[in-house]
Symmetry: C2
Subunit: 291 residues, 2 copies
């Protein structure tokens, strides 16, 4: 995607729907990429497609890498994969974690990495699978400015916006703000769309009209019509949103923020899970309101 | 603002922060405007500025008008002002109501008007005081298509988007969807901004970053930074929002829509009123969360 970063030896750990294309963009940018994935078949498929190498463990993949990237599931995965990677990494290297996780685990990993002379960056992303595939993610980073300066040009391979937000944990905290703003917004949109249908309006036309004014949002422009058409088999899954909201609500307990609507919407997502919608897009809040 | 509409004899009833500039745009577009306002001094000031006439009652202002526009406070005001105006209006004329009111009162006025051979259009607007002053309002209309075809070119004097949404009441119902989508959205934004501050982030920078993605909204782009700066002495007042949400919640009782977050945010606005914030902008939901 970019040729502005000098070729580096890097590793990418975790080839899910996000990591697979992100690692691909690094390879296309000319970096020497070694990948690791818990399920080996995916790592083999990636290496076959992109001509890179794959390794059997995080530590093995990380050996000799200037920068190690990772994108895994949750806090426990981060502890396990980062812990193993650090054992293989050389002093002076950088470990950048794209997982959406707690600020606590980010600070914990940063401390662990520092003991070995390694810099840890928490670097969660937004933009979803499409953003990863098209290389237009937003990357919110916390950690050491010098490490950021080294890693940032590489992250540009898949990030349209790559921003240092502060010390370790600040990337995760910024991602939390993002998810808090989305949760209540999507519920409000669902209530509006459900009301429009119950009121007998041409709801598609309503969206065209009100999206020109103060009710406008990315969600309205990109999700309202699929909500009205009862299409939810795409996008960002309810199960992942609940994981993220749990991180937000736990952090709010620590910092004293009051999140009444976020907490309520998290409960609504539990309803959606009970409807069998764990893998539906977050806009499926519409499903529990009815039409 | 526009010269596409043939000059007409019109009346404008209600010269509040919206009606005053809207009537002004009609005069500037070349129409012969007679205004009425409950407080006469405002009508005199308007006539002095725009060179139009002013009348002592709605019926008097409406006499001989092809189209009578009105923009007043609530359902009771609509009943009183429209009722009086209809007594002065000629058969074949059109009464267009820009008040945000119930769909019920719109249907009631449409029936009353029809008895006298007059068409009633419910035509609430969005875009606020700035939209009215700059002539860029969105006008959501319910009623007879032929009456809409006559009134629409005139409404273009202050409306950037003027759309027929359906039968009598459909304009009001569309405006309700707009307010429902905004209520929960603004609360979500307030929770996000409050959390960002409690987390010790540079919240202005957070807004810059996350407004590029799925959390983006008109409210985030236009209200997040004023919320962070504790500025609420502008915009759309909490008292008016509560009036609008009361209309939404009553209509939902009728049509069976479930609006849990809208109902909750309405209660939060009651808290803001208790804080003395009835005239603060709706983004003042931030005030009850703390920083």
């Amino acid at each position: 995607m970019t040729d502005s970063a000098a070729p580096r030896t890097v590793a990418f750990l975790g080839l899910g729907v996000m990591g697979f294309p992100m690692a691909g963009h690094l390879a296309k940018a000319g970096h020497a990429v070694t990948v690791y994935n818990r399920t080996t078949a995916k790592a083999e498929a990636w290496a076959a497609r992109h001509g890179g190498k794959h390794a059997g463990t995080p530590a093995e993949a990380a050996q000799g890498a200037d920068v190690v990237f990772m994108c895994v599931g949750n806090d426990d995965d981060v502890r396990q994969v980062a812990g193993d990677a650090l054992r293989g990494m050389k002093p002076g290297a950088i470990l950048a974690d794209h997982t959406t996780a707690s600020a606590e685990v980010a600070r914990e990993m940063a401390a662990k990495a520092a003991e070995r002379g390694i810099a840890f960056l928490d670097a969660p992303v937004s933009g979803g699978q499409a953003g990863a595939e098209n290389g237009v993610l937003t990357v919110m980073v916390g950690g050491d400015p010098a490490a950021f300066a080294t890693a940032e040009p590489l992250m540009r391979a898949y990030g349209r916006s790559v921003v240092l937000m502060g010390d370790s944990g600040a990337g995760q905290l910024t991602k939390m703000v993002n998810q808090i703003c989305i949760a209540g917004l999507v519920q409000a949109l669902a209530e509006g769309m459900s009301f429009a249908q119950k009121a007998g309006l041409d709801a598609h036309k309503v969206v065209d009209v009100i999206s020109k004014g103060a009710a406008q949002s990315w969600q309205m422009e990109n999700r309202a019509k699929t909500m009205l058409d009862d299409k939810f088999d795409f996008g960002f899954a309810v199960d992942w949103m609940r994981k993220d909201l749990s991180i937000c609500l736990n952090e709010a307990r620590r910092n004293g923020a009051t999140l009444p609507v976020t907490a309520l919407v998290d409960q609504f997502y539990a309803d959606v899970q009970k409807l069998g919608g764990g893998r539906w897009d977050t806009s499926s809040l519409m499903k529990r309101l009815g039409r």
